[in-house]
Amino acid sequence: MKTILTTSALALIAPMALADEIRVLNWQGYGTDLDWAIAAFTEATGHTVVHDYFNSEQEMLTKLRTNPGAFDVVLINSAFTPQAQGEGLLAPIDAAKVPNLADIDPALATNQDLNPGGALYGVPWTWGLTSMAVSTVDFPDGPPNSLDVFWDPEFKGRVSIRDDALEAVQFAALASGRNINDIGIDDLDAIKAELTDLMPQIATFWSAETDWNQNMAAGQFAVATYWSGSAARSISEGLPVEFVVPVEGAIGWLDGLSIPASSTKQDAAHAFIDWMIDPEFYVRWETEGAPATSNTAAAAALPEDSFNRKVLGDPEVVARVQFMRPVADETREAYLALWQELKAAQ
């Protein structure tokens, strides 16, 4: 009896005694700072959460470098995780302290950029795609399943891609069956030829969600590249479009949650990350407009007709995605020169 009393008393006191204040570094309004989510976390663990924000990946890296010990959890896009780890800014994740890690899609958990040096430095959290969306008015018998449709003469003048050099080059690489992260000099010539053929098909280049939606609503576009999160919003607003992940695959981005090496509250940080990938958290966040989850159990817990389950919840789709790797400045400039040359020739 005495033992039971002591244990319950300890159980009551323990969370209080170990309660830490953790500091999270993220984009503002991106999931971790939802009031209800923080309240639930504090209630369950006793830890409190304070946020700091960044406006660019460079700013995030600068904050990590110049403020050791100031942050306990940081959101890092997988294309930047190797750089942060290489500079010694991150601590490896202790899988034993993140039970929900077991449900993470293996394709994401083994992502090479989140595992620099063979250990996990970023827990896959959310991801999204750049793929294609088609107008259901133009494709009444169901959407096409190949990117070849962009080059189809039937849709001349009704095609659009985004005005972005990196995305244009990676899109052409994808369409021609190449690895978007490994484009050599010879490939670049072939990609240029592909894009040269594509140019006359294009009505205009889109630059933002609003002009994409306008052109789609006006019937100007029949098929265009699009982002998964934006497509989900357009569909929920009633636009007659369908988002397709074609046989060639799609371009993916992946955000992970990492723990700085300088964090003094490792246990609380692991607990927070575990909560962030918990299906209970994600299912509620999804109703407020979340990107796709990395947790297969969370995707399976979504309603049948939800975009993130129907279109992106299939592990077979994830397997076709080519996640963007770090891009060197010189590569970026070479792509821009190619893209500008193509646009100037119009």
Binding site: I202, A218, G219, Q340
Partner: protein, 282 residues
């Protein structure tokens, strides 16, 4: 000028020149400085002085193509503004009086009061396939499709609309100033209208025409927003190029060098036009 007068003149000039120094001279100097660097001098980045940005900008054929395209666009927009604006200014200045003139003037200036983006998007609604113009043409002549959106014509239509008021206003001022008795004298000597227009009105209105042309040409040659929104695929201009360097690749030095080359080209064109300007002013 006496000392006191000079002091008073200085007092009147100081606010404007102080403002010009702050708003024009300083940013331009900063850009001139950037254009000579190897990298932006922010944070811990290494930088040194170089002329490479100018060499790159001048030897890249893509940039030359786009510069020529922008100059050509500015030429056509300016020409159309003059063709449309001059007769309009003539009617306003010489043929109308009182209330009617005020009302028509208001209509000329009205576009100035709306945001330029709103104007461009309105044109998009009119010009696009299945848009206002297309449907109107289709209802008058069945089967006719008129989709001007995303073409060079759309860019010129949008830009002419945006900049036409400048030409009308400058021409109006110079036409207003022409002495009516000169025209009457010419007519009494037997000159017909084409001759009066060519030998009398046009030369006297030249300052207004040139001022209007300059006011249109200079901003249009650097424009990038209207061409992109209305031109779509064909809407890449020299201005887009500069914007890309600043925003897409964070290469401020090259962007600044490209801007100064554009400034130089504009100054050369203005210098070429200056004999006419001086003659008109005399």
């Amino acid at each position: 000028m006496t000392g006191a007068e000079r002091l008073r003149a200085l007092g009147h000039l100081a606010p404007a020149y102080l403002w010009l120094t702050l708003a024009v001279f300083l940013p331009l100097s900063a850009m001139a400085f950037f254009s000579l660097l190897t990298d932006v001098p922010f944070g811990t980045r290494e930088w040194s002085f170089t002329f490479r940005n100018y060499a790159d900008a001048l030897t890249n054929p893509t940039y030359a193509t786009l510069l020529w395209k922008s100059v050509r666009l500015a030429f056509w927009v300016t020409l159309w503004c003059l063709i449309l604006g001059f007769p309009c200014a003539w009617v306003l200045a010489r043929m109308l009086q009182g209330r009617t003139r005020e009302a028509l003037f208001l209509l000329v200036i009205l576009p100035f009061w709306s945001n330029s983006l709103v104007r461009i998007f309105s044109w998009a609604i009119v010009l696009r396939g299945n848009g206002v113009l297309d449907q109107a043409a289709g209802s008058i002549l069945p089967g006719v499709r008129l989709n001007l959106m995303f073409s060079e014509s759309a860019i010129i239509i949008g830009l002419v609309h945006s900049y036409l008021p400048y030409v009308i206003l400058t021409c109006y001022l110079s036409l207003q100033a022409i002495d009516e008795t000169l025209i009457e004298a010419a007519r009494s000597l037997g000159a017909r209208w084409p001759r009066i227009l060519w030998r009398l009105v046009l030369p006297l209105a030249l300052p207004g025409l040139i001022a209007g042309a300059v006011l249109v040409f200079v901003p249009v040659v650097g424009s990038f927003m209207e061409p992109r929104l209305l031109g779509g695929r064909v809407g890449t201009t020299y201005g887009t190029l500069i914007e890309d360097q600043f925003i897409a690749v964070f290469n401020w030095p090259l962007g600044a060098a490209l801007s100064f080359i554009l400034l130089a080209v504009v100054l050369v064109i203005l210098a070429a036009a200056s004999p006419a300007l001086r003659k008109a002013a005399a």
